[in-house]
Subunit: 455 residues, 2 copies
Amino acid sequence: MAVSLDLRTLLARLRSLSRVRNAEVVREELEGIRPEDLAEVLPRLKQEEALRLLEMLDDETSAQVLLDVPTESAKPLLAAQPDQTLAFYLDVLPMDDALDLREDIGDERFDALLEVIPKEDAQEIRRLLAYPEGSVGRSMTEDFFEVAPDADMASILTDIRLAPEGKYETVNDIYVLDVDRHLLGVFSLRQAIRASLDSTSREIMVPDPITVEADTPAEDAARLVARYGFYAMPVLDERGRMLGIFTVDDAQEIVTEADTEDVLKLGAVTGGVESYLSLNPWQLVKRRVPWLLALFVAETLTGYVLRYYGQGNGDLPLNPLTFFIPLLIGAGGNSGSQVTTTITRALALNEITPGDWWLVMRREFVTAVCIGLLLGTVGTLRALAWGTDWHLSAVVGLALPAIVVWATTVGSLLPIGAKRLGLDPAVMSAPFITTFVDATGLVIYFEIARLILPR
Amino acid sequence: MAVSLDLRTLLARLRSLSRVRNAEVVREELEGIRPEDLAEVLPRLKQEEALRLLEMLDDETSAQVLLDVPTESAKPLLAAQPDQTLAFYLDVLPMDDALDLREDIGDERFDALLEVIPKEDAQEIRRLLAYPEGSVGRSMTEDFFEVAPDADMASILTDIRLAPEGKYETVNDIYVLDVDRHLLGVFSLRQAIRASLDSTSREIMVPDPITVEADTPAEDAARLVARYGFYAMPVLDERGRMLGIFTVDDAQEIVTEADTEDVLKLGAVTGGVESYLSLNPWQLVKRRVPWLLALFVAETLTGYVLRYYGQGNGDLPLNPLTFFIPLLIGAGGNSGSQVTTTITRALALNEITPGDWWLVMRREFVTAVCIGLLLGTVGTLRALAWGTDWHLSAVVGLALPAIVVWATTVGSLLPIGAKRLGLDPAVMSAPFITTFVDATGLVIYFEIARLILPR
């Protein structure tokens, strides 16, 4: 089956399925769909629709789906599940993934769950939780396949044959540990098969593998996995004893999240790496306002500079209208940058497609109006506090929301338009949007000024 | 061996090694260093030093090292190698990696090499080259392990045992193909070991795996690999026949490169994804000037708007000094953004460390002076063409390079400073730099104006 990236079709199918009452039929229909794809579409469903679908999935699939759903969308869905279901989730998920559940359901409920799941699992989870947040220790799994240096291939292959299903996350790499749990070397399952049955681990292992310590930041460890092209990397404690392995699938997820975070930060958007559509406009506002407001206040510095040279000092007489030019085009440029980076990243990760333009527009419009009114109020007050007359203060207060809404619209539509035309959306770079908004924003400012300022 | 991220120490060690004449000693010293680490440091050596080191490595290691060195740095080093060595490289490298060599040594020399390497290898390379650039077909390997549906586990394990070393890139996944080379299913080596020896592939395979077509963009395929957490993904032709596999290590490389490209594009830097230090200042200028100049010209639009309202139209009289404010702070903001994004990405990928601040400063200073003089010239001409008087035109022409140099310094030092303080360098977002440069850039502009303009 070639994978279909067409989430829109899947969405329509799920919507109609969520209305079917016969669980059998739904389950059969859903069988062909990968949990990862379901997770991608679930945040776009109404909460009741999503819950109804989850109910009809078997618990193991719904656990996998919910794990992949971004935190913000997963929270309400998980909150609606009974403890019994959540305990089952903890049981079937790999331990490193189970930790992620903690963020979704809250520490308190998570800790309560640890009391009802098998003791061994709870202990492993508590051990992993002891490592600092964001460290590779939190993302490793303890279920690696270890052998003694004098174990021969015959016994190793028998072990693999007889191990209970799911005991090891992977047996592709086999780790040779001494009695003190120090890592001596590593060899692949393929090497084990190719070696003679009576050769020992010590004979065929590659000694001295590259390792990381458990408190290494997970991003650094992930970049090393990428750099060396590893499938898994051993994780040691500070005394050199092997604790677990950090696998490439987790590394990839961490690298992608770190890159998303960097992109958004460079575009002055704070907060997590939630997928774009899993956030409602109010959450979008919350992620953008802190920096935008900070930058807006910093930008008032330009007002001081202009007033100092243009008024106080007197040698370079400037029209008071000028004092607000950098502030206004700055606010437009910054809000435009935020939107462009957010949308470009969402397009790169296939979270949205050009067909979503109308959906994006509506969300961004609501977001922009909220942000614009806030900045407009702050801007008016700042102008009045400088002793600016009422007329000019009103011009500033009206121009700000207008420019922010305009910049947001341009910043969201241009990358989508570029993608639709088959161009790379990132070409609509933040500086490009800023420059475009500079000129057009001034037109808005001066037109409002001509309407309001007394001649 | 815990990996050392300390490239500075490695660099010093390599520098002194390149002066040692005894190849034996050098080889022994280099043995403990991974080719990927050597590749990271090689671009920082002088060309003669790098060539001398490469000479002393065995050919297989030097092939791996050169493959990992970014194109711009690898080109001169590869050009210096005799055909015989290059042919050997083609022989030892995996086919998908061998293709990358083409970009480094040029099509002509590459095609000539294809004539002297074993026919089978040359044919495989030509087949891969037939896929569009940037498609997954170019990044796949044909060396996957395939079996017939009725093959039993005993024969499969024997095949793995007897296959020549290196015949298959991986045998962790085993692909079941019918006589027409259609992919029926897949199973893991671990499953093969756990199944009884007389069970057939058809019995244990998981049918209908997720696949991609060979002309799918490699970035899309790589995002799918990441999304599903695969180790390898089968690649099919348009008629559904299996051609090869696309492995997670290649996927990771492609995702990282795509993300770097997106980050740089969002910061309005054009060109490839070369690592920061492998580019000399002149190459940095070439990557930044196109967008910067385009934005600069676009920004002159603000001049039209200001002149229209402030002079032509007359109702809002503005001091001619005002006409150039958005242009100047825009140029500062854009050049600052370019530098910040470049440096932040280089820090994230560990291409540079905070200890490199002085090296970065010197490079960026040279780059900024070149760019500043160029923009200064264009800006002066633009001002004169608008009929601006000589004095003000000179102010603009002097302020531009000063502001660009200032913005570049701030934009390169702030992310490095943030990293040194243990903060995330991406916090020094492009909008933050822009805002900071807005106010300080105006001070530069007005101070120059007070010096030059007649009172």
